[in-house]
Subunit: 198 residues, 2 copies
DNA sequence: CAGCTGACAGATATTGAATTCTGTCAGTCC
DNA sequence: GGACTGACAGAATTCAATATCTGTCAGCTG
């Protein structure tokens, strides 16, 4: 399809996503990607030095989509304790939705993420920075008494790992998980120094 | 060794641990265990209905050893916020020590735990009950204002997963993990209603 | 006769030969 | 001459034959 257009990194990434969706992470080959694009696999290597680099780029695209959506929430003007809660809920909801909607594709991306340690690390740094911004805002407005927003952001992120780390994906569909989420987030927000919600 | 003694479940469990240590979870067979004991593998099946049951029993023994050690701390008479901190630190230290000391054996037991969902579930229920007791004590003494100690115990356990869940084992040796632990535990203890430590 | 053995059927794992894949590059085609 | 092809070497993966393991049970043994 559309073999007439010039071959770009973007088009290769799209084709790679499609091949991964179809074949899964174990069986998706560079030859498959080239075939889907109607080119020889040598051409793919002109844009990505290795198969690992190609997979890493696909992973980055996928992670960035979530980062961008969360950045919107982090930038809102709502009260910080509401904003923090919304942000964490949005992260949880995004992950749970992806995992529940198409478990196979989610498993595929989980494998990719496992491979691409550095890329995932950057993604986590990014998300933690968003959290730190919210906590800083809270410190300025007097809602939180944050001694070290960056450290507390990391703590909040890690303490809620159960609701965003793929290794817990199977638990996201269980009943009662919403309550678990609420109790942990309440504890953390109170720990940051905010008054308890009614 | 000691092939003259009668064959008991206990002796089989010991031999199984040894075989697992030697061969790893993938290659440890019932025949190996029987050979180590100097009996036929049919005899092993007299005490454990299946290989899975045998592995589950080994896993339970291993988990129970940790539970027992932690129960001692949970039962101490120290101030609750100190006791809670000590308990969580002991859990972290126990896991980290096992993982760092003999990574291969730890990986073996992680695989076993993965297989034995029910047994691990009971172990977690047990640990959470210990935590709940500490939080209840804190509520009685007025240090914590616990609305629902059982729920909060689960929350504290899950929020500190990074420091006891085997899926994070590789991070336990990294520098800075101690600080991460402290920030999360501080946040949780403050969230439970305790005053901040100096 | 209670506890154990060892042969057995079906399921699972191992092995090595044959295939497919990755990454390169000299050469082709606009 | 810059983008692309396709043949190639070595690495990684299949696949099927082969071996091992699990779980059972009739019969042995002390």
């Amino acid at each position: 399809m559309a073999a007439t257009e010039t071959l770009t990194a973007e088009r290769i990434l799209e084709a790679t996503e499609e091949v991964l969706r179809r074949h899964g992470p174990a069986k998706a080959t560079v030859v498959d990607v080239a075939r889907a694009l109607g080119v020889s696999h040598g051409s793919v290597y002109r844009h990505f030095r290795t198969k690992a680099a190609l997979r890493e780029a696909v992973t980055k695209r996928w992670l960035d989509r979530t980062s961008e959506r969360l950045a919107v929430i982090a930038g809102e003007e709502t009260p910080v304790e509401v904003r923090l809660r919304d942000w964490l809920a949005a992260l949880f909801e995004a992950k749970r939705h992806k995992a529940g909607d198409d478990p196979e594709l989610f498993a595929t991306y989980s494998v990719l993420a496992e491979e691409s340690g550095a890329t995932v690390g950057e993604h986590i740094t990014d998300l933690t920075a968003q959290l730190a911004r919210i906590i800083e805002d809270g410190a300025e407005s007097g809602t939180f008494r944050a001694a070290d927003p960056a450290a507390e952001a990391r703590a909040v992120f890690q303490a809620t790992a159960r609701f965003h780390d793929p290794c817990y994906a199977r638990e996201w569909q269980q009943p009662g998980i919403e309550e678990d989420f609420k109790v942990i987030v309440d504890l953390l927000i109170r720990g940051l120094g905010a008054p308890v919600r009614p």
